[in-house]
């Protein structure tokens, strides 16, 4: 299943609800362009909701990193919420859990933005 992206806004935070796989060629380009366009349009608080992401490969991990650095380059914050056990494990293994600000639920994530 390719990656579907829905965008909504809560308390000034732009939330991207991702649904599907974050893998090479299956929506990762769309994720890249969505984050790039959001920060270009002035979004400074972005939350990636991975609740419905069931699979990430190394390319997908790279796209998450890219989204993070793209946001940071425009002084925006990008955080992650609702990771599945497998996605969390991959982030731990690759130590990307030290790069991202990761939250267990949306309320906690929203409250963490300055």
């Amino acid at each position: 299943m390719a990656l579907a992206i829905e965008t909504r806004e809560v308390n000034g935070v732009t939330i991207l609800d991702l649904d599907g796989r974050i893998t090479l060629g299956e929506g990762t380009v769309e994720l890249r362009y969505t984050v790039r366009d959001l920060v270009a349009d002035g979004a400074r608080k972005i939350l990636l909701n991975l609740a419905a992401v069931d699979y990430v490969d190394s390319s997908g991990l790279g796209e998450l990193v890219s989204a993070f650095t793209t946001a940071r380059s425009r002084n925006a914050e990008l955080k992650l919420v609702n990771l599945s056990g497998r996605v969390q494990k991959l982030l731990n293994l690759t130590r990307l859990s030290t790069v991202f600000d990761i939250h267990d639920n949306e309320a906690q994530a929203l409250a963490s933005f300055k």
């Binding site: 090479l24 490969d57 190394s58 390319s59 991990l61 790279g62 796209e63 990193v65 890219s66 993070f68 650095t69 497998r86 991959l90 293994l93 690759t94 130590r95 990307l96 030290t98 790069v99």
Partner: protein
């Protein structure tokens, strides 16, 4: 991806734990993607060769491309803090995590990756399956 699904099925048929199968299939996917992207550089004229074998004591997956090859002894460490924010460079790391052995070999035309997952001894598998069956018949919830 076909090879990923096939690798997962071979693992399942070999009686491996679903979580082990998930990561083994991910490793095969990573090797195949590396071969297509970096080895064959998307050239449809170049062949990707994949073989899977169950020897009874191990599952082995061989992925070969027709590319230039690379120096596998000088791969950057993706866990190095200086590399953490790099977009790429984690595929082989994930292969090494998922598999018991990862070998690279330069071919006359291309590169070959051999991924090996050892299988538990047959006796261990029989005992484990009997244990699971026993728990099921007792109505154990986990």
């Amino acid at each position: 991806m076909f090879v990923e699904a096939e690798a997962a099925e071979r693992c399942r048929q070999a009686g491996l734990d679903p979580e082990i199968c998930f990561y083994a299939a991910l490793a095969v996917r990573e090797a195949a993607l590396n071969a297509v992207l970096h080895g064959n550089v998307f050239d449809p004229a170049r062949i990707l060769r994949v073989s899977m074998r169950n020897s009874g004591s191990a599952l082995s997956f061989t992925i070969a491309d027709q590319g230039q090859g690379f120096d596998f002894s000088r791969l950057p460490d993706p866990l190095d803090p200086r590399n953490l924010e790099h977009r790429s460079g984690r595929g082989i790391f994930l292969m090494r995590f998922a598999m018991d052995e990862v070998h690279f070999q330069r071919l006359q035309t291309g590169m070959e990756v051999l991924l090996i997952k050892h299988l538990p001894f047959l006796a261990e598998r029989v005992i484990e399956e009997s244990f699971r069956a026993g728990r099921r018949s007792l109505g154990a919830s986990h």
